[in-house]
């Protein structure tokens, strides 16, 4: 027997070789999304029926840009983690599963980058 503690033995292991990192990330993004999504709902309600100028005026308000960016990052990270579990639970064909898992990660990155780029264009563009 190696002289290792229980924590040392379990750290970074488990069948997925990822330990508890997925579980923790899902919880941390969930906690971040509690205040952020409540703020998002209030914001969306205040944007009802507005045109593009109204949207720009909202984005220029203090906090809007930073909170929206944080919301989008936490949101798509959380979505990626959640959909990963759904794929792992229901897709049993190895090729399909791995393809979907990769697509899921790439789509999440695309969504977060393209929506933050859109915000930057509205906030800083001409």
């Amino acid at each position: 027997m190696a002289l290792r503690s229980d924590l040392g033995r379990v750290r970074g292991l488990g069948s997925a070789k990822g330990g508890t990192s997925h579980w923790w990330a899902q919880r941390v993004t969930a906690v971040a999304l509690i205040p952020l999504s409540i703020w998002f709902i209030f914001s969306i309600i205040s944007l009802v029926g507005l045109d593009q100028n109204g949207f720009k005026a909202w984005l220029d308000m203090p906090g809007s840009f930073v909170l929206m960016t944080l919301f989008l990052i936490a949101l798509f990270y959380h979505i990626q983690l959640g959909l990963q579990v759904v794929i792992e639970d229901y897709v049993h064909n190895e090729i399909n599963k791995v393809s979907l898992l990769i697509f899921n990660k790439l789509l999440a990155v695309f969504c977060v980058v393209s929506s933050i780029a859109a915000l930057m264009k509205i906030a800083f563009g001409g």
Partner: protein, 131 residues
Amino acid sequence: MKTGNRPLSPHLQVYKPQITSVLSILHRITGVGLAVGALVLVYWLNAAAYGPEVFERAQSLLSSWLGRLLLIGWTWALFYHLCNGIRHICWDSGIGLEIQHVKLTGWIVIIASLGFTLISWMAGYGLLGGN
């Protein structure tokens, strides 16, 4: 391995739906639904960046009857997933795991998510002035 025509273990459809199991699968279903809704959010933000006409079109698509129906669904899904997510975090902290608490908080989540959805849409229509 050949499994032949062996009897299968009881599956979902033989069990009577209970508040615990129904709310559990609803958490997953609303999560997947909200992921689809997030794609609409990406479209909406990009439309806003593209120009006034494109944004106008996105706004009119989303305020059509189908758009509003979907948005009501996403509003409820978001409140449900949010409230039930808080319930899950409490469980992770070891709080509220007794069966009577699980049932009580389950009903609270259902009523709260419907109530918040109603309040949000009343606020939205209030801002619009009844359009």
